[in-house]
Symmetry: C2
Subunit: 355 residues, 2 copies
């Protein structure tokens, strides 16, 4: 919409400053070889007249919109809301506005994010798919700057920032083993899946048990398709109903673990006395739940900052043949009441710094 | 960015279809007086060539971008993340994409949202200010469609969707009185403020106490500037440290109430046996906390849908002199364990439907 700039034009600014339109344009575009006195005259005229640059027209000239896209599955999942917050702050610090799109974890909408016409409005895209997989790697071969987040697709034609899934899960299970737990259940497994966060965190779970000389008991593996509080509670109830013996639960994300806590509370099972619980994501809620939730902090701030920086580097140098980078964020284990009980510190310190 | 459309132009489509560029343009713009055979030829050519409309150029012609802005204080506050989710879904159902901007509750950023150059990229704005107030009503007199959310500014030059703050707060306090509570504290008051959610909810608190023949004891009013979990916990600790006698707490939002719950848990105070707690917002977390949190459900879905509909009506008819509307959303009291204890139903029903 250009109504807002209708009143004052570049012609008006030029006339007021007593310079050519070309000179006004040079000032607006930050051209460096302009005499300071001329620059000041133009800037004074701009201020006096309240002239506003038509950003659409200007960006069309520069080939930039100053906007970047961030496509996430669901803002109502706290991890993605907090990630969006971090990306917005990192982008703001670099003068960029973030256009957030929500895919709802629907495959068609994830493909539409890549090819949709609103890509013309953004200079680049930070994309966290949940449904696309290795078979979709061709769809990722886009002709605009993009940074991938998540664990769905590795080796795709884009820079990629990912969590340390296997090692983080190993450390989480080791933390439970360190508290003397031996019957460690999982909530949130995806049976048969070989890609994605669930598969990788399950690999870490298995490796930690094997390192401790323990086997994996399939009766302890709780499935949950969506990683929400509700599905975590349901999976926990199913495990308890099955009668399997357990003394700890690893929720593959915090929403699942908080749902599991809710189910344990409803059944008057003491956490961590009878069953210890650990999650993954370190969303703010985990520091306030009752009991407070131990979790894996997967480096959200680092992920956001790195993604924005990688994207900006591609935007600034679109023809670079620099190879695609893969950055794995640092993680930490945050020990709280749900595993440490009364021994948990008032403000939980970082139990282990990884990598 | 126009690289994506660089390969195929409207000229190519016209040549392939054997029609004029004007005809292609008419088809693309949905012009209705086109012979079906001609329309089909053009559409076939578009499909064969993989032509993509340049949305930027097209919207500049139509004066629309298909984007609406949503400016909220903080996505890391669950209420605003869940509100954004609801607005995105309501907008998607109407073919609109939402550009989310975060102001961080900074006054300058809230003013920038109104005047910033990215307003040229959106057809309209849904704006939830937290810092602007009645003195800023002139800044709201913008020349693009806008819908206001929240309680900071009434009678401004825009359609406005608001919560039922006074009545909702009265109902919340009445719910506590119905459980036999008489010493009802508040967490989240803003001393001296006469506008905004805090002032209105405090008015409802006072009116409910007066209706019950009780007075307001200033010692029971806990201040908290930001409405976060951390500030709620701090305010609760201060109230308890003061030694004032209390048997219930009204958190002016859920984050504050969840922070208060956390503080009570840390001090081994039983909720609701010793102190009952109610919040405001009905964020998902309240159905999973331990104990589950009673709260005021302020009609988030209705607020989102109404705001999008009001905005679309203004976008579709920008020159309408229809007076500005003010819509007050319906609220409900959701009774859970933090006030009802073991009497709380497994899935809390709506205790009272208001208005």
């Amino acid at each position: 919409m250009s109504r807002r700039t209708g009143a004052v034009t570049m012609h008006d600014v030029a006339a007021r400053a007593g310079v050519s339109i070309k000179t006004v344009s040079n000032v607006l575009n930050g051209y460096q070889y302009i005499r300071p006195a001329t620059k000041e005259k133009v800037e004074t005229a701009i201020a006096d007249l309240g002239y506003q640059v038509n950003l659409t027209a200007r960006n069309l000239r520069r080939g930039r919109t100053g906007l970047i896209g961030l496509a996430v599955p669901e803002l109502s999942l706290p991890y993605f809301a907090e990630l969006a917050d971090s990306v917005i702050r990192a982008a703001e610090a670099r003068g960029l506005t973030v256009l957030i799109e929500q895919t709802g974890s629907v495959r068609e909408r994830e493909l539409e994010v890549l090819t949709g016409q609103r890509r013309h409005l953004t200079d680049g895209l930070i994309f966290s798919p949940l449904e696309l997989g290795p078979q979709d790697v061709d769809a990722l071969d886009v002709d605009y700057p993009m940074v991938l987040l998540g664990e769905r697709i590795f080796g795709g034609p884009a820079d990629h920032v990912t969590m340390s899934n296997v090692d983080g899960a190993k450390a989480a299970v080791r933390h439970l083993l360190d508290q003397g737990r031996r019957r460690i259940a999982v909530v949130g497994a995806h049976e048969g899946e070989t890609v994605g966060s669930a598969a990788l965190r399950m690999q870490g779970y298995r490796e930690a048990l094997e390192d401790a000389g323990l086997g994996v008991d399939p009766a302890l593996i709780g499935e949950a398709g969506l990683w929400h509080r509700a599905t975590g509670a349901e999976a926990m109830h199913r495990l308890l109903d099955s009668g399997v013996e357990l003394d700890a639960v690893f929720g593959l994300n915090d929403a699942l673990a908080l749902g599991a806590l809710h189910a344990l509370h409803a059944r008057r099972i003491d956490v961590p006395e009878q069953i210890a619980v650990i999650g993954w994501d370190d969303i703010e809620e985990t520091a306030y739940s009752s009991p407070t939730l131990s979790t894996v902090s997967p480096g959200r701030e680092q992920i956001a900052r790195t993604a924005v920086d990688l994207l900006l580097a591609r935007i600034d140098d679109p023809d670079s043949d620099r190879p695609y980078e893969r950055v794995i964020a640092d993680f930490t284990i945050v020990g709280r009441e749900s595993t440490l009980g009364d021994a948990a510190p008032e403000v939980a310190p970082l139990v282990a710094v990884a990598r």
